[in-house]
Amino acid sequence: MKRLSIILLFLFAIALQSCEDVVQADIAGSRPTLCVDAFITNDTLPQKIKLTLTAPYLGNTAAGAATGAKITMTDIAERVFEFTDPDNDGVYICNQPVRTSDPRTWFPIGVPGNFYRLEIKYANETYESFAKMDSVPPIDSLGYEFEEQRIRGNDTLPSGYELTMVARDIAGQQNAYWFKSYRNGVLFNKPNDLNLALNAAYSEGSDGVQFIAPIIFNLSPERFQPGDIATVEIHSIGVPTYVFLNLAQNQMTNGGLFASPVVNCPTNIINKDAKSKTQVVGWFCAASIYRKSVTIKN
């Protein structure tokens, strides 16, 4: 729906010369709150969890680091992973693969189908959260097509290549995906680039078909040129994370005639002491990744 209202607004803008400008807003009542940024994958890279303290909205200062926490994660096999913060910057790291005495049982933290429990002890409070790692479908093919220069909104898109992809939603269950695309290793990571899917589209009824055209278009927020390496990753984020990210995207790209009200994104981080008044925000997600790259040629 977000995209729909953008197009709606675009038409409207031509017609009525609507205008948007940056203004000062009087915002009272900000308070630093612990924010958990936990996104665990089946990659072999070191896994990271970031703890921050929220900053005032218009202050434009980066969030402060929440240091001194004790983070442990357990999986359904009762393996325990410790996350530590050697640099004291709020980024807690767990090195893996997990070594056991028998090298044949080395495996990464992330295993599709596995359940995880996260426990964070910070400032005399204990928080916990749960996540399941879903399976991810393969990318059957990744290609590109030449497109002429075109005007889009107020911008001119230079001529160049846009990605084409054929991949199919896993049939028979509710799946949610986050498509990340990279140009020469740099992730397109603006709020508008956030490319999500619920099954093969944006709804429950789109089970088991190929990912629809808008998802493919959105793999190319900018155009690629010959020599660029394009990488696409599908992350199986699960339906709860889809709901969280979808709302987050709406909030980050809000505006216009049909703006939705500002609401807080939900959190799946729970204070173990139900009576505690200390707030916590953020999200814990476990996703498996399928990755494919292509080099753009003339």
């Binding site: 209202s5 009525l16 948007e20 009542g29 218009l58 190929q210 629809i212 709302l247 703006a259």
Partner: protein
């Protein structure tokens, strides 16, 4: 409770019984030139002071003891008709009234009485005749009914060009908008910049905000009753207009003189023609236009029988050119068939059969890759109604209505690489019935009462699946805990409500009166919308096993006073207090699109609103116009939202001041101006920023809904109507309307929203979105013959 109310009702009726012989004078009152019925003209007997206003078909009836009387008929802007009558039998007297010539109006004001607001029973009512609306400076010079209604006291809008209007702090779906009795589910063209009503086809507009009579029901806040012209029954007339955005044409005339007439009126915008000049090929290939067609015909079979058929069809179409071909269209269709019968001189009846539909469709692509989404609401209803002019003290209106609804909240069909999938909510069906009776009773020359009761019944029926939810109070959506399938016409859930209505008027003297009213309203339909302005794609849903009917109680007290020579000034002050024991609210982050479990996204809330409205109008002279001011407050409380505390709702505006004045500077030139000021609407502002995977997400740390307000709104519009010299032996009248909307180009905030800077999303900003930031000139040429 029910029995007691009926007993009181009967008692009040019966204690009026008199045994004396009485005769009745009745008939219809019409415009002499066009043959149009004059709604609300007042027939008064000079000797007794007894008066009655004509109904929506121009019918009146008065009963008196035999004798000689002087009957005077008055109607704003018309020459008063005075006639002596010898009442020794029942008399039918049809009267044709002559409109005051314009020149006469400015110098000779005697014939214009504006005492209506003091004398009439109704309160919290605003009547706008089309001539007043035509003088109000309008956006792009195009006369618009809903935009004019937005200037009235107690009426606000969420912003420039938003659909509909908000009455006394209520949502737009709480207004029953009737076009010749047919409900209009979306009153907007181009999102709300224009309304669906073609001013050339409209005769009368009445907004009822309080003291709502028993014949109206089904919405909480107000009734906007729009009556179409019947068509000139004397001669052919053409009205046409050419503006920047669209053109209008209407033709009316007799089919058989004084027996049958018709009107057909159309509008079409040519806005999309400008796309040709756009630099972008995709824009050049785009379409964007709206049209509407309004038609009505009526047949006078004889003095006692009359038939009307009216219809409306309108549509907005937008299509985005280029590779993805995205487009949508939405529109209303209504048909009303009415049969009037005068059973006796004292009993007037009308039966209406009504069809109304609103639908929209959004789509992109084709059957290989694409999607298509359709949704609609359709209803069929029948409404019999009788008015019984019992005696000079009592006028009883009773009747009923039965409406069958079909809701199609939307099915999304889409194709990916040729494979088809469907998603959405199934159709919902319901039946709404009502029975009502209301009496207007004159106790003596000082006191008049109006009391009535409406019994409404609503059944949510199969075929369809009912979903059940755990009954928990939450601020996020709740999962369904079960479902059950119901067969066709099987009742899933039903509701009954008794809606008492009561008004009292005390005439202090000839120039002033005090009125008070109470009404209870039930609403069984909801427009599901959670955005700042309602979109054309919002869905209508019935009350279900999860959504209870919305209810509102309102009391109002008002003082009405006219003064000046010939009561040229009228003013009123009204206070109101409303409680809404049940209202639909939305969970935080509600997912309202194509969601079969949409009911899990809704919350039971309660509302309250109070306010003070002042209205001052000058009706005659070179300078005419009005000032309306509202001090208002509207709050909601729902579940855990705002930690269970009251919060201002989306339509709450503390101060609202609207003025509209016209000055006849030369005989052929009228200057008009509007000034509009209102407090900014409430909004939720984020207090903090949370960072997650490189994104900066707004956070409202204490979770206060509507914790701030957007800046105040104000605007000045000017217009000049120049009457050009009539052409061809004065048969062709034409004029030019030049206007400027938003004269000082204020960038009125429609909303303040928050986002990361598009180039550097790590920098968060507050953005003011103004729909119009510039003065908008307009010019329209109108030709009538």
């Amino acid at each position: 409770m029910v029995q007691n109310l009926f007993r009181v009702f009967l008692f009040l009726l019966l204690c009026q019984g008199t045994a004396e012989a009485r005769f009745t004078i009745s008939g219809t009152i019409k415009d002499k030139a066009s043959g149009e019925a004059l709604i609300g003209s007042v027939a008064q007997i000079k000797e007794t002071g007894q008066a009655v206003a004509t109904n929506v078909f121009g019918f009146y009836s008065l009963s008196m003891q035999p004798g000689n009387y002087t009957l005077s008929i008055t109607y704003l802007g018309y020459e008063t008709v005075v006639q002596t009558i010898q009442l020794d039998r029942d008399i039918v007297l049809n009267i044709e009234m002559k409109e005051l010539a314009n020149e006469l109006k400015t110098v000779e004001v005697k014939a214009e009485k504006s005492s209506d607001n003091v004398k009439k029973m109704e309160m919290s009512v605003a009547k706008l005749d089309i001539r007043t609306i035509q003088r109000i400076p309008a956006f792009l010079g195009e006369v618009d009914i809903v935009r004019a209604v937005q200037l009235l006291p107690g009426v606000t809008t969420v912003g420039e060009g938003a659909t509909g209007f908000n009455v006394r702090g209520g949502n737009i779906d709480q207004n029953l908008i009737l076009l010749d009795d047919a409900p209009v589910f979306n009153s907007a063209h181009v999102f709300g910049f224009f309304s669906v009503f073609n001013p050339d086809a409209v005769r009368d507009v009445k907004l009822i905000k309080g003291g709502i009579p028993a014949q109206y029901g089904g919405r909480l806040s107000s009734v906007l009753d729009v009556r179409m012209k019947e068509g000139n029954s004397k001669s052919f007339r053409v009205n046409s207009g050419i503006g920047i955005l669209f053109s209008r044409l209407s033709i009316e005339g007799p089919i058989k003189k004084d027996k049958a007439s018709f009107i057909i009126a159309g509008r079409r915008s040519y806005f999309d023609q400008f796309f040709r000049f756009a630099p972008d090929a995709a824009v050049r290939g785009s379409i964007a236009y709206f049209y509407d067609l309004t038609a009505k015909t009526n047949l006078i079979i004889n003095d006692n029988n009359r038939i009307f058929l009216s219809a409306y069809s309108g549509r907005d179409k937008f299509g985005f050119g280029g590779e993805n071909g995205f487009g949508w269209n939405n529109g209303n269709n209504t048909v009303t068939l009415r049969y009037n019968r005068v059973f006796s001189r004292k009993l007037f009846s009308n039966v209406s059969a009504i069809y109304s539909n609103y639908d929209y469709q959004i789509g992109v692509g084709d059957n290989t890759n694409g999607f298509n989404w359709k949704a609609s609401i359709t209803n069929y209803s029948i409404k019999p109604e009788c008015t019984w002019y019992i005696n000079e003290k009592n006028q009883l209106t009773f009747g009923g209505s039965s409406t069958y609804y079909r809701f199609d909240p939307g099915i999304l069909v889409f194709y990916s690489a040729g494979e088809r999938r469907e998603n959405g909510s199934e159709n919902k069906f319901s039946l709404e019935n009502a029975l009502y009776a209301g009496n207007e009773q004159t106790l003596n020359s000082k006191w008049t009462l109006q009391y009535g009761i409406r019994f409404s019944h609503f059944a949510y029926m199969g075929p369809g699946t009912a979903y059940y939810f755990r009954d928990t109070v939450s601020s996020f959506s709740v999962p369904s805990t079960g479902s059950k399938y119901f067969r066709t016409n099987e009742v899933i859930q039903q509701y009954r409500n008794l809606e008492p209505r009561f008004s009292v008027k005390y005439e202090v003297n000839e120039f002033s009166s005090v009125k008070a009213s109470y009404n209870r309203m039930a609403q069984y339909l909801n427009l599901i919308s959670n955005t700042t302005a309602s979109t054309p794609f919002d869905v209508w849903l019935p009350a279900t096993n999860n959504i209870r009917p919305q209810l509102a109680n309102q009391i109002a007290l008002g003082y009405f006073r006219n003064f000046g020579s010939d009561e040229m000034y009228e003013c009123s002050v009204e206070g109101y207090y409303k409680t809404i024991p049940y209202i639909v609210e939305y969970v935080n982050g509600a997912n309202l699109f194509l969601n079969p479990l949409i009911e899990g996204e809704l919350l039971a809330g309660q509302g309250r609103a109070w306010g003070l409205e002042g209205f001052f109008r000058k009706n005659s002279g070179k300078l005419t116009g009005f000032i309306s001011y509202t001090l208002g407050k509207a709050e909601t409380k729902a579940g855990n939202i705002n930690n269970g505390n009251w919060f201002p709702n989306r339509f709450d505006r503390r101060h609202n001041l609207n003025t509209s004045v016209s000055y006849d500077i030369f005989p052929r030139c009228t200057l008009s101006a509007n000034f509009v000021y209102s407090t900014g609407t409430p909004a939720t502002f984020p207090t903090n920023r949370m960072e997650w995977q490189g994104f900066v997400i707004p956070l409202n740390v204490d979770n206060f809904r509507n914790n701030a307000r957007i800046p105040d709104y104000h605007r000045v519009d000017l217009s000049c109507i120049i009457k050009l010299k009539p052409l061809y032996k004065n048969r062709y009248n034409h004029n030019l309307v030049v206007s400027v909307y938003n004269v000082y180009g204020r960038k009125n905030a429609f909303s303040i929203y928050f986002r990361g800077n598009p180039d550097n999303p790590q920098n968060t900003e507050a953005i003011r979105f103004a729909v119009l930031g510039i003065p908008v000139p307009g010019i329209t040429y109108n030709l009538n013959f």
